[in-house]
């Protein structure tokens, strides 16, 4: 048997993957306990996990099923605003509002997914740009359209204070959940179907794969987690504005992280998120030029994609066979 993955049993790989997630999660969860005043480190790790959650959620539909969404900020923003509104208007604790917001976004994903996922390749991508922009404009003009005061339009939505340490733990929890979900999808029947769609939708369909249903479900799960990330942001930052939550630049960032990290792999989006948030946060604080981080990121993106189509996961996976099997199993393999 020549296949690399076959040399390690599926069980060993699953245990390895889960251990890796738990080690990362526990290490980050310990930060506020070890040092209560580690505010800066808490902020850095929050955004690290936050981007990892977003990138992994995008990867479920973009990386696995190959349906490139340029409008994922719609789900992020919807989750943020739904959490913010439930919390400020109905006084629902964010820990309750976040999953509710996730479900709202998942429902929205089904609504927009049923018509758009019939489109293929570039047509789907273009349609998602439309969905993203339409959703942003809805958030901006919501109050005027419906004659209520909910989103406060371009002024933004200020929210009551909330304990950042609670948000820290909630973020760790959502990160663990998104990682377990993305592994579960990839290892099983669902993921196999998504990869089949990715490679040849018509052939998948005639082999019995209900392609429309699988894609809509994947988009809904993806939207749920993207919206949860939005909710976490609302609880931590306590201020939302449409430009930053629904912005097209956010949608682009969500595409680029998994691409740089390793499209369709479990860990690629996490690596991409680490790189993105490092460049974004650390380099921004080192240099004064506001455009330099974007430039550095752009150069890195081009270089990585030229040398390794599977991104950072692919580069790291070259090290050892086990690392390869763990980090970048071939498409459709566990």
């Amino acid at each position: 048997m020549t296949s690399v993955v076959q040399r390690f049993s599926k069980r060993t790989l699953v245990i390895g993957q889960i251990t890796l997630v738990l080690v990362v999660a526990i290490a980050i969860a310990l930060i506020p306990i070890v040092d209560e005043r580690s505010f800066n480190l808490q902020r850095i790790t929050f955004f690290l996990l936050w981007y990892a959650i977003l990138a992994s959620s995008w990867n479920m539909i973009g990386g696995y099923a190959g349906q490139i969404s340029f409008g994922h900020a719609a789900f992020l923003g919807m989750g943020a605003y739904a959490t913010g509104i439930l919390w400020s208007q109905l006084k629902w604790d964010p820990l309750v509002s976040i999953p509710v917001a996730g479900l709202v976004a998942a429902l929205y994903a089904v609504m927009v997914g049923v018509p758009t996922l019939r489109l293929r390749g570039p047509y789907f991508a273009i349609a998602t740009i439309g969905v993203g922009e339409a959703t942003r404009l809805l958030a901006v003009n919501f109050d005027d359209i419906f004659g209520v005061t909910l989103t406060h339009g371009v002024t933004g939505l200020a929210l009551p204070n909330y304990d950042p340490v609670t948000v820290h733990y909630a973020t760790v929890l959502v990160f663990v959940l998104v990682m377990l979900t993305t592994m579960w999808i990839r290892a099983g029947r669902f993921g196999l179907g998504l990869f089949a769609i990715n490679m040849d939708r018509d052939a998948a369909e005639t082999a019995g794969v209900p392609t429309a249903r699988l894609q809509v479900v994947a988009l809904a799960i993806s939207a749920f987690f993207a919206a949860s990330a939005g909710g976490l942001y609302a609880a931590r930052q306590q201020f939302l504005d449409p430009a930053s939550m629904f912005g097209f630049d956010k949608s682009i960032a969500l595409v680029l992280m998994p691409v740089v990290g390793g499209l369709g792999t479990v860990w690629g989006p996490v690596f991409g998120a680490v790189l993105y948030s490092t460049v974004q946060d650390q380099i921004s604080s080192l240099v004064r030029n506001p455009y330099l981080p974007a430039l550095i990121y752009g150069v890195l993106l081009v270089v990585i994609v030229i040398f390794e189509p599977l991104g950072i996961a692919g580069l790291l996976g070259r090290g050892t066979k086990y690392a390869r099997a763990l980090l970048m199993p071939k498409d459709g393999e566990p």
Partner: protein, 247 residues
């Protein structure tokens, strides 16, 4: 082999693309357990008819039933779930998946309802049947044409169809490979699967088919046993022209 009851029945099936009538009021009746051949010159509408039978296209008019249940207009995966599987004329393996995963897709999404180890065991069985076991870890894109054709068959059979549609699975193969494909088709029929096949390789279709239907310009022009078809003036005319019949 004695053919059984009609299993796949088309009544006045038509498919139009704009002004072009690709399939024009075709009646067909495939009987359980038989190998039903479909031939005709290029552009006769064979592949379009196949796509109607497999649910890739819906018919513009007419009805297609499998064991009395209407399949016309249902999506392809639902038609597959009812018991019709198809191969693709232009082979379409999942390029970045190893052969075994290609077949696994058919097993876990087909009618077998097998999961886990039982599904893996079924993949092993199918790879043995189609002689693809040595290539199980090879990616779909790295296979030779002959093996891609076998993979098409393996993936379709994996869904446990009652009726298997084979679209030119012997085309482009050398005589040895073609003979092995004929053997494989016999084995699949022997396992109880009804087969409808489109083929340009006359040796293959003449030796395999119980009955052959001939199409030309979207219409059915003849139906009969291979020997009858080979001597039918209408068929000769469609293939070779008027003068060939006269001489």
């Amino acid at each position: 082999m004695t053919a059984g009851e009609p299993i796949l029945v088309g009544r006045a099936v038509s498919r139009r693309f704009g002004g072009l009538v690709a399939v024009n009021a075709v009646d067909l009746e495939v009987r359980e357990g038989e190998i039903f051949g479909l031939i005709g010159p290029n552009g006769a509408g064979k592949t379009t008819l196949f796509r109607l039978l497999s649910g890739v296209y819906g018919p513009s008019s007419g009805s297609i039933t499998l064991r009395g249940k209407e399949i016309g207009g249902r999506p392809a995966h639902a038609v597959n779930a009812m018991g019709i599987a198809t191969t693709h004329q232009i082979v379409r393996p999942f390029a970045e998946m190893p052969v075994e995963k290609n077949v696994l897709v058919g097993v876990v999404y087909g009618r077998s309802r097998l999961r886990g180890r039982a599904a893996d065991a079924e993949v092993d069985r199918l790879l043995e049947l189609t002689e693809l076991a040595p290539d199980r870890a090879t990616l779909g894109r790295s296979l030779t044409l002959a093996r891609r054709k076998r993979l098409e068959v393996a993936r379709a059979v994996a869904t446990r169809p009652d009726v298997l549609l084979l679209d030119e699975v012997a085309a482009g193969l050398n005589p040895t490979e073609s003979a092995r494909m004929v053997e494989l088709i016999r084995k699949i029929r022997a396992s109880g699967v009804t087969i409808v096949m489109v083929e340009h390789v006359m040796k293959a279709i003449m030796s395999l088919s119980d009955r052959i239907m001939v199409m030309d310009l979207g219409r059915k022009i003849a139906l009969g046993k291979p020997a009858e078809i080979a001597n039918d003036p209408v068929v000769i005319k469609a293939y070779l022209g008027e003068r060939a019949v006269a001489s």
